[in-house]
Symmetry: C2
Subunit: 357 residues, 2 copies
């Protein structure tokens, strides 16, 4: 019976479910585990849009051969500090995880390391990869292009994705780990849709309509909403960053760009392929890690001491809200919305892997 | 007699003036030339806020020993792909230029190269360095922290600078070179001041007043304006990027951060020191440069074909407006505002290097 309630489900049960369904559709155990880890970490961090609910889309694409279930993921070291991972058009998480491992390895040797990823797919949220580097004493960064949703500055047709860009640095001794994971659009497309459904007005720098006009009252009808476009963050600035992301993720790797990227929720005919860029800088190439951690502590304590602006409770370190949510959800379990629960219960039934309750 | 007119002055005359005054205050010829090149390139590109007018501030700081006139600029290669340049607290342009040379050199060897710069100062605009890398077949990127002008997201006191971040990539055969050079605040502080002076309203995401309240009607009085703060681009997003910039420019290098950076126009007691981060990725580590240039052509042609949004004439490639301005100013000369002309005429008189007219 479909549920109408949000349930609290422990992260380890969600993880076991995700591993189970990915193995059922033929993924190797290691790939199933890496992908489950990245997805469930997003639920723990409160980023449910990038969490366990994606199992449904990923599994359907794997079943239909639109993602390769058993990909031959390979690393090609091109130079001392640089290489390429080929994801063989499977799930995006395993090649991206490998890319970050290799970037860290080269950073420990050469000071920094970079890996481009090709023939990959949606990698989930960027934060878990960057945090992995930060936990190993590196400044981690990565970005990805994405399905076309955002106008170029001054244009009336969508071209680039809401392309995520993410940075993380080793934590202080007393302050939270820094991690900034953001879309390069002013807001995620989902926020525009949500405002439309709720009948709410939006600020004039969020979206444009099908003719490129500034939009403040989005429609509630999804058929109209689908022709809206998001606006780059800071106007020309987010557009400028989007070109860099596309140059490194698509042009260096030979992947399709912007409007040519297959839409994973809409296109059930074509095999998709995406590119990412992953980099690590070894802090110890500059100074002892403990000194860096002391310095970041000092700066973060000064930031935290700034009085909040009207309407805010405190100044947060980028990544601090997510760490707080994670601490809480490790205690209480992750809230799973009824539509996600129903979607995954149906998936689980088909797979013979019951969705936890 | 002070001028009230904007004059058009050829770039080579501006350059000769800048070289002349820097040599007069004791800078080595090479440093004078590099600094003049970076400044005058900004005038040519239409970024007059980072152009020849800075000669006055730089020369005063050099005369008073607040910038070292004959610095010992050194490069310390730490690892195969990573090093540090020490600017010995002189002008910021020579060490940043050296850093980009070394980053390119390491990129040609290792695939990518990164250099942190310490004991530097204001480096002018970021674009000329990134473009230098792009002209040598690299994706160039650099960023710098800056004097405290921007609130952290949710805070009521300024902390980070309007910290520039810049990317450039090799040009297509038929399309302009990509270069995105941006402040990480929603707008530059000067725009807020200009609106105040002109009695104009500003959008609610540009600035806050001394109490952290959203500001839409800035005062015309500079004594009030100085307590305003700029707002990070995209709110939490620009703040997240600012922390990465500070981590790489100040924490890795041991430079002061945010509110501890000496204000070059206001503080005439203290020797200043700043840090930057400079990186190059060799395109040929991934694919032949001609293939990359073909790919970027193809993408840019698609972007240029997008119909403009209402109120815009065309979709521009990031960096295209500046290239057009440069082509025009190479023909006509650079417009020099009367206040700049008067400032530099006075400087020139004191130095015995007449400002051109």
């Amino acid at each position: 019976m479909p549920s109408n309630d949000t349930k609290l489900i422990p992260a380890d049960k969600l993880r076991a479910f995700a591993v189970g369904v990915f193995e059922k559709v033929g993924c190797p155990k290691e790939h199933a585990e890496i992908t489950a880890d990245v997805l469930i970490e997003s639920n723990l961090r409160g980023v449910d849009t990038h969490g366990v609910f994606l199992c449904d889309n990923y599994c359907k694409r794997l079943e239909q051969g639109l993602f390769t279930p058993k990909p031959n993921v390979t690393f090609d070291k091109r130079r001392a500090a640089l290489g390429t991972v080929d994801g063989d058009r499977g799930l995006g998480q395993p090649p991206t995880w490998l890319a970050m491992q290799k970037a860290i390895e080269m950073a420990k040797e050469c000071g920094l390391g970079a890996v481009s990823v090709r023939n990959s797919n949606h990698f989930g949220a960027a934060a878990p990869y960057a945090i992995h580097a930060a936990e190993r004493g590196c400044i981690g960064m990565l970005w990805s292009h994405g399905e076309s949703d955002v106008i170029p500055f001054g244009g009336r047709k969508k071209f680039f994705g809401t392309a995520p860009i993410c940075f993380a640095a080793p934590a202080g001794f007393d302050t939270p780990m820094y991690c900034a994971d953001m879309a390069t659009s002013q807001v995620a497309f989902g926020k525009i849709r949500a405002a439309g459904h709720a009948g709410k007005e939006i600020p004039p720098d969020w979206a444009v309509d099908a003719d490129g006009n500034v939009l403040t009252k989005p429609a509630s009808d999804d058929a109209i909403i689908k022709d809206y476009s998001a606006v780059p963050m800071g106007g020309a600035k987010g557009y400028g960053i989007a070109v860099m992301i596309e140059a490194t993720c698509a042009l260096l790797t030979g992947m399709p760009y912007g409007p040519h990227i297959i839409r994973k929720f809409d296109d059930w005919q074509n095999v998709s392929a995406m590119g990412h860029y992953v980099q690590a800088i070894d802090v110890e190439a500059f100074l002892p890690l403990t000194d860096f951690r002391r310095r970041i502590d000092e700066m973060f304590k000064e930031l935290k001491a700034i009085p909040p602006a009207p309407g805010y409770k405190e100044v947060m370190i980028p990544g601090e809200p997510e760490l707080r949510t994670k601490a809480q959800r490790l205690e209480t379990g992750c809230p799973i919305a009824p539509e996600t629960s129903n979607l995954l219960t149906a998936l689980g039934k088909r797979m013979g892997v019951p969705f936890p309750s």
